[in-house]
């Protein structure tokens, strides 16, 4: 039966490259014998001395790692920042694209809203795990193939990669983008009525239900005008809790009627779908259109409300916020 010393030596040698084994085997045994002798000399029995000597040499895996100078970590401090930046970048970029793409496919194939949401969540989760695993694996391999003290595969950091920051006052570019966006929405709302791309028997077929021009479409134009006025007000005064509150109220004023109209099947013009040779009465299709409409409206409302609250909080704490589009890098 192998002694404790044998078992210790075998365990260390398992992790040592073949050419070094015979030499380390001999040295380790002679070193252990020296340590055992020292303990026997100070009054321990042979068994106690062997136990004490092996305790001094410690965990055999750690001993072997010390000999081969193998890293004792998956990703060391040299490559951790690059790993973390790349991981965040890919998660933020790929996960939403993949999840939304899958959800759209489910909508197109006529799944019910519950299935679509479940698909969205499981895809986001699965894709995130995949990205994290493969990115980490690549870094673990690089960590072990290159000299970590001369990481030539890592992007060199320079100060011009720093993102730009601005205090609560927004830039003229931000305001312009906001107003252009509101303008586009208003133009689409008016344009779908008079310049629709779908023509049936010489007449243009509006995309949205023409009956709602009696109240709701003009009402939405008013809301858009209020949005534009609000954007200018915020640009001049900066974000505050009051501004975030008004932002939520304006969002609700637009979202609630739209969702209600969608559930009542009053948003879209049925003739528009039939002019495209769609048959909206076909089983399930109207439900899918309703579900997609509600999801999009709710999503935009939640996104915009949270965005306003975050901006208000940043303004409150005096922390500058990152100017979007700057400092993008891997």
């Amino acid at each position: 039966m192998p002694s404790l010393t044998d078992r210790y030596v075998f365990t260390v040698l398992r992790h040592i490259p073949e050419p070094q084994r015979a030499d380390l085997d001999k040295e380790l045994r002679s070193s252990i014998a020296d340590l055992v002798d020292a303990h026997v000399g100070s009054g321990a029995t042979q068994g106690e001395a062997e136990d004490l000597a092996l305790r001094e040499l410690g965990d055999p895996d750690r001993f072997a790692a010390g000999v081969t100078n193998r890293p004792q970590h998956l990703i060391g401090p040299e490559s951790f920042p690059s790993w973390w930046r790349l991981l965040r970048f890919l998660l933020a970029l790929i996960t939403p694209i993949a999840a939304v793409a899958h959800a759209l496919v489910l909508v197109a194939t006529g799944e019910v809203i519950g299935t679509v949401i479940a698909g969205l969540i499981t895809t986001a989760f699965g894709v995130s795990i995949q990205i994290a695993f493969w990115v980490t694996l690549v870094f673990v391999i690089l960590e072990r193939t290159e000299n970590p003290r001369h990481p030539n595969w890592q992007a060199q950091w320079t100060p011009d990669q720093l993102p730009e920051y601005a205090h609560d006052r927004r830039t003229a570019g931000d305001l312009a983008a906001e107003l252009v966006w509101i303008g586009i929405l208003a133009a689409l709302l008016l344009g779908q009525q008079f310049w629709s791309f779908s023509v049936l028997q010489g007449e243009r077929v509006p995309v949205l239900a023409p009956a709602e021009w009696s109240f709701w479409w003009p009402y939405l134009l008013v809301i858009l005008a209020l949005d534009a006025a609000f954007a200018i007000w915020v640009w001049r005064r900066g974000w505050s809790w009051l501004a975030a509150g008004i932002n939520v109220l304006l969002g609700l004023a637009g979202a609630i009627p739209l969702i209600w109209l969608a559930l009542e099947q009053r948003i879209w013009n049925p003739e528009f779908f039939s002019s495209l040779n769609w048959t909206p009465t076909e089983f399930g299709t109207t439900d899918v259109i309703t579900a997609a409409t509600v999801t999009v409206v709710l999503g935009i409302f939640i996104w915009d409300s949270v965005d306003g609250i975050l901006k208000a909080r940043r303004a409150q704490t005096g922390a500058p916020s990152k100017v979007s589009g700057t400092g993008v890098r891997v």
Binding site: L24, L28, S30, S31, A33, E56, L57, G66, V67, N69
Partner: protein
């Protein structure tokens, strides 16, 4: 009680950090005269340089693979022993480390 223990482990990790490089310097200096693992451990302990067996043995092999130490088996006695000796490259490194050690000592004394 708990707070005291935390402070103790923290200070011991700082001490470890401070001592890490000094063991290399001490080995390179002592091994200008050839010696083997256990004798070196004894010499260092007597010189009040605190190092553990599980640090020293792997370190000797690493320094050898870096060309800072040279080894030779002595089989003249009943127990064969691997003797290590500092190479010229090792002596050069020892000198560099020693100069820096002196500089650090001066610097710390000055700001203390």
């Amino acid at each position: 009680m708990v707070l005291h223990m935390v402070a103790e482990t923290e200070s011991s990790s700082h001490l470890q950090e401070l001592r890490r490089g000094t063991v290399v310097l001490a080995c390179l200096l002592v091994l200008r005269r050839a010696s083997y693992g256990y004798a070196l451990l004894e010499t260092l302990t007597q010189a009040d340089i605190l190092v553990e067996a599980n640090t020293l043995y792997p370190l000797l092999r690493r320094l050898e693979s870096q060309g800072l130490l040279l080894s030779e088996w002595d089989t003249s006695e009943s127990r064969p022993r691997k003797f290590y000796r500092t190479t010229p490259a090792g002596e050069e490194l020892a000198e560099t480390l020693r100069v820096d050690w002196a500089r650090l000592d001066r610097a710390i004394t000055q700001i203390a």
